[in-house]
Amino acid sequence: MLELRPRRAPSRIMTYLSPLIAIAATMATGTLVFGALGYDGLRAVEAIFLTPLLEPQRWPDLGVKAAPLIVIALGLAIGFRANVWNIGAEGQYVMGAIAGTGIALLTHDLTGWWILPCMLLAGIVGGAAWAVLPALLKVRLQVSEILTSLMLTYVAVQVLYYLVRGPWKDPDGFNFPQTRMFSADQTLPAIAEGSLVHLGVPAALLLALCAWFLLSRSVAGYAVEVVGRAPAAARHGGFDAGRITWATMLASGGLAGLAGIVEATGPFGQLTPQFPVGYGFTAIIVAFMGRLSPPGIVFGALVLAVTYVGGEIAQSTVRLPAAAAGMFQAMLLFFLLATDVLVRYRPVLRRRG
């Protein structure tokens, strides 16, 4: 029978192999499940996982969808490494977009190159501000940051609804619940004339590079690692867990806020009630799929972006419901958590007796 034996040290090969096994297992299970539900399972999986990669005209969309996932997941991964579970990134993402949009509405009849940087800065501040309360309650009163950051997500979404239906409603918008469109000076430029890919996409890759350097080559990155893995040793070594909590919460909130305002000034061009699409939650899957490391996160974000783009393709070709992509994303995380057992344990075939 099959037996699991603990490894002496975590397997490096399995660390990198288990996301690939998880993807394969998700594709296999997806074929069976959607086949059983009466769809063409094989074509559904092909549309979701392969078509976006095989058709070059889909690639810009992949980049646009991967960028916010990369930026949010980088922040979350830094926190998860230190055992700080900020799962309210979706709320910080919305708050960042709101703060940046506030600047845009204040400056809507002005021009100048400085407007966009101010909006981006406001996005970072807005996202970080939304993480202040969970950080404060965690450090001072040991209140679970999981629950507080998540509750604030629901609050942020209501703030968005209030603003776009009320004070921020476009006066020339035929009473639709949405803000005015951003002006040219308030819009993130594309990387090339006529391209769908905005500057946020290369910026996300650059951020991943910076985060990689910070985590693997700096004292700060080391402190995060120690606090997460060995809190007692961290206290001995003079690393302050409270400060790490503050730093990681603010960093992840700020990055989520940045992703929010980039999404608002880039693909959206205004704020609408449809703005929160769940990137903040999907980024959790990305962080785990990327093994909490920046290069892995770029890979993970690409995989999840494929499922988003592929989900849209499958809606039209196989008539799969929109929610199917969400199911595939959840299955990916389940299989990833399951195959991760192979990092710590070695399967051994043994005869009974």
Partner: protein, 307 residues
């Protein structure tokens, strides 16, 4: 305020509190055994959609609730397999379960959007509750009574029975419980399954009793509030009952204020109140650092065997 209005407000509070009480009780038992299952919201949604699907196709609401409990158990078993069987991180697995529940419920519920059923009615015949005040005793649906009964049962089970003592021992010190010969993983799996069943029932209460209509994500984060209520309750069923009814009151206030058309409070501000109240409650619990901190099961969220 007339007695009729007051009674109907109190009835609404009981109805709003019931799904929180059910899901919270299930999570309380799971946490007492040392399992931190953050997938309550996901399990509730699985129960809500399974319950609605079965009630709609069979025409039987009780059958819907039975299916909801089974769906909740099935979802909980995914959690148990990953976090107990394979030792995966409980926080991550719980989050995965919630993402899964959201996806599964909107996938399977897509065909039911806008469809309605005859919702769960009062348990006793109407002539039991001729006087308005009598409605408070005899006017509720079966799930309200079930939730109250289960609260008492769980309280007695945990403090007065041998099995309850073993369950608590597993949550407080898994290594010792194992050394004495108790099967830690089996007990935790059972507790997780109980949590799943009650979360499923709580979720189905939304789709079968509160709103007899299917809508996407209709639990709206109540599963997370149930998790928070367990902390508020300091892992005591009696306090969980108080907490759930307090939140029922908050939700009822939201509905009443909306109905009364209080224009100085935007509907969005009212919609925030349950979530802000949750944060406030968690904060107050920690400020009053009395029983709450000491009462946390010592092995909560820790894997067994320790790796």
């Amino acid at each position: 305020m007339s007695a009729v209005v007051l009674v109907s407000i109190l009835m609404t509070i009981a109805a709003a509190a019931t799904p929180l009480l059910l899901a919270g009780l299930g999570e309380l038992v799971a946490e007492k055994s040392g399992v931190l299952n953050l997938g309550v919201e996901g399990m509730m949604l699985c129960g809500a959609v399974a319950g609605f699907a079965v009630a709609w196709s069979t025409g039987s609401v009780p059958a819907g609730f039975a299916a909801a409990a089974l769906a909740g158990i099935a979802a909980a078993m995914i959690f148990a397999l990953l976090s107990l069987g394979l030792g995966a991180n409980q926080v991550a697995t719980g989050l995965a379960l919630t993402i899964f529940g959201i996806g599964a419920s909107s996938l399977f519920g897509a065909g039911f959007v806008g469809k309605t059923i005859t919702r769960l009615g009062p348990l006793f015949p109407a002539d039991y509750a001729t006087h308005p005040w009598l409605r408070l005793a005899f006017g509720h649906d079966a799930m309200v009574y079930l939730a109250l009964g289960l609260t008492a049962a769980v309280g007695l089970f945990l403090t007065r029975t041998r099995a309850g003592l073993i369950l608590r021992a597993v949550g407080e010190n898994a290594e010792s419980a194992h050394a004495i010969g108790y099967r830690v993983l089996a007990i935790r799996t059972a507790a997780t399954g109980f949590g799943g069943a009650l979360a499923g029932l709580g979720g189905a209460y939304f789709s079968l009793a509160l709103t007899p209509m299917w809508a996407d994500r209709l639990t709206a984060g109540r599963g997370w509030i149930a998790v928070a209520l367990v902390v508020f309750a300091a892992w005591k069923p009696g306090r969980l009952l108080i907490g759930a009814y307090l939140f029922g009151a908050v939700a009822t206030f939201e509905l009443q204020a909306k109905a009364a058309g209080w224009s100085f409070l935007a509907p969005e501000v009212l919609a925030m109140t349950p979530y802000l109240a949750t944060i406030a409650v968690l904060t107050m619990m920690s400020l009053g650092r009395g029983s709450a901190g000491r009462n946390t099961p010592a092995c909560l969220g820790k894997p067994f065997p320790a790796s």
